[in-house]
Amino acid sequence: MSGGISAGLAAGAKRDGGFRKISGAPWFTSMVTVALLLAMLGIGGAVYPGFLSEQVAFNLLIDNAFLLVVAIGMGFVILSGGIDLSVGSMLALSTMVTAWLLQTAHWPPAAAIACVLLMGACFGAFQGAIIHLFKLQPFIVTLAGMFLARGLCYLISIESISIDQPFFVAVSQTQVPFLGGFLSPGALIALAVLLLAVWLAHYTAFGRAVYAVGGNEQSAAMMGLDVGRTKVLVYALSGLCAALGGVLFAFYMLSGYGQHGQGTELDAIAAVVIGGTLLTGGYGYIAGALSGVLVLGAIQTLIAFDGTLSSWWTRIVIGALLFVFCVVQRVMGGKSR
């Protein structure tokens, strides 16, 4: 998929020598993230007894399944050179609508979930259409979308709606045996979405169009790619992922609440950046979202295991990691950007 990029970098590498060759490779930051994750797990295992069990690692996935799905959608948007700030509010709105449809309107779960997913996709497509048609900055449009979705939550109810629908309760309590431990259905869905997303990004025409638009929108248009269609689809996909993240969050929390998912958009952006995707677009891997999310989760778990550090350290460490990764990307990878 990034044949052009890696070929260009390889040509530059011949002149620059070994280190530049390695640090300039498209997979370099992704590898740094994986190494970082392994190091964190290793340190945790060495310092805290019981840290290196399979279940602790699986719990990372279980607790962050919703974030993974949201980050995958965000990954596509960022690869296309945009940004979507509305995903956290969209997640909250989906939990709210799901809860309301189940508890007040007594819809069957399948219909409620389908309705919520459709809503997310339409919301995203609407934002994408405005961004494309009026040539507005994605940042400001999705900011307005963020206000809109959060506001709609409070229109439904300002209080938390708890879900006691039997299917949802059953799903939230199910433990699927997996490699000696267990995973939640939500985590399995998130993994399935990841596989689907990797296929979409690297093996389909749509994926190639996303990379092309993110690399250079004008060139993509001149090549005859339908830039508008790609953009609308990318934001629709992000909205869909945010809505699915909301459904997973509803499984996880068994409630719908307008305050759910505050700051999720930033966690998702952080995960995508830490996963090695350039925020300027066109460069990186969708699978990086997994390592990014796991790193964020590992920070939280380490701090929880330590017990003496206050949880505020999470935000600071995430900020510091963001800083390091952005600077590394800037200095090593995207010198021409």
């Binding site: 048609l133 009026f134 900055q137 206000f147 506001g151 409070y154 350290w313 800037r330």
Partner: protein, 352 residues
């Protein structure tokens, strides 16, 4: 370029001399924001009984208008700083975190029965922290050349964590009386906060209009490369814009903390950056950089506060506030886009 060629720009520039005053007013960039504010105020005057009444109690002026002005003060400060950053084609989303940080530092230093530091020193320390935040943002944007949204995202995530770490996640209550003057004191009948905003606004206006700084900032926003080639120290200008923005945010943090008599690292200034961006956009400043209007941003902040007041006083549930705000952003942004203007122009031409 120095030949006397009539470029379209020079034609446009010489045109106002011939157009009547009315048309000139209609073309003024502040027309739309000012009209929006007036419409909102007229709406309030019609719907809310006693909206325009001003009472004098204990030598202080009271009334809805004063209230709106007072409550808009932190947002106006944040919008002032944001205007300069947006004028350089940047964005600063760490404003809320800086508000929380500076408020926390001030509250911790003067909080408690006996202040740790004399108040001027404490305020200075809080503003110093804000300046450092701005310097950090500025260096990331101008020095390391990160995208502004990413550079300030780092502080946005970490800043609030830092503030919470300082206070152990607790709300710091302030008991020191003189500190409350900033947020709720009165001077010559008007809230002190209004004077503070007016002073910062006046200084900024002077800097922008009477020195070349405004022009420099505009040129960086229009084309950073050309500005640098023309001999401007673009990096210094960028750092200045971010430092100024954080300084304004720090002042806003002091106002907020002093007004609610406590510092809540978790909620102080939450989403303030978004309101500030909204105010700047409403005021007619283009998010693409270059063209900016400080007066417009002030009007934008007042529009947001008046809108909030209207929603509350009409008995509409406050939850609607966010929906209304978002619709306003959509409408304003779309109406400002050149694509929309072309659509309108085409629609006008068709019937003729």
């Amino acid at each position: 370029m120095n030949a006397p060629v009539k470029t379209p720009a020079s034609v446009a520039a010489s045109e106002p001399a011939r157009t009547p005053l009315g048309a000139l007013l209609l073309q003024h960039p502040l027309l739309r924001p000012a009209a929006a504010l007036i419409v909102l105020l007229v709406l309030d005057a019609l719907l809310v009984p006693g909206f325009l009444r001003l009472d004098v109690k204990d030598g202080h002026l009271y009334g809805a208008l004063v209230d709106i002005l007072n409550r808009a003060a932190p947002l106006m400060l944040a919008a002032l700083g944001m205007t300069l950053v947006i004028a350089t084609r940047g964005i600063d989303i760490s404003v809320g975190a800086v508000v929380a940080l500076s408020g926390t530092v001030a509250a911790m230093l003067v909080g408690g029965a006996t202040p740790m530091l004399p108040m001027p020193l404490a305020l200075g320390a809080a503003l110093g922290v804000a300046l450092l935040c701005g310097l950090w943002n500025g260096v990331l944007v101008a020095g390391i050349k990160l995208q502004p949204i990413v550079a300030t995202l780092i502080l946005m995530v970490a800043g609030r964590g830092l503030a919470q770490l300082l206070t152990d996640g607790q709300i710091v209550t302030v008991y020191y009386q003189p500190f409350f003057f900033m947020g709720s004191g009165y001077l010559f009948g008007l809230p002190f906060a209004v004077y503070l905003v007016a002073a910062v606004f006046a200084v900024t206006m002077l800097l922008m209009k009477k020195t070349a700084l405004g022009l420099f900032i505009q040129s960086v926003g229009i084309n950073p490369v050309a500005a640098r080639l023309a001999g401007l120290r673009t990096a210094t200008l960028l750092v200045f814009a971010y430092v100024f923005c954080s300084f304004c945010a720090g002042l806003a943090g002091l106002l907020v903390t002093s007004n609610i008599k406590s510092a809540d690292a978790n909620n102080a200034g939450l989403l303030l950056e978004l309101d500030a961006i909204l105010a700047v956009t409403l005021g007619g400043t283009s998010l693409a950089g270059g063209r900016f209007s400080l007066v417009g941003s002030m009007i934008g902040a007042l529009i947001i506060q008046t809108l909030t007041y209207t929603i509350y006083s009409l008995g509409v549930p406050p939850e609607v506030n966010m929906v209304v705000k978002s619709i306003v952003v959509f409408v304003v942004c779309i109406s400002q886009s050149s694509e929309f203007k072309q659509l309108i122009a085409r629609a006008k031409r068709r019937p003729a």
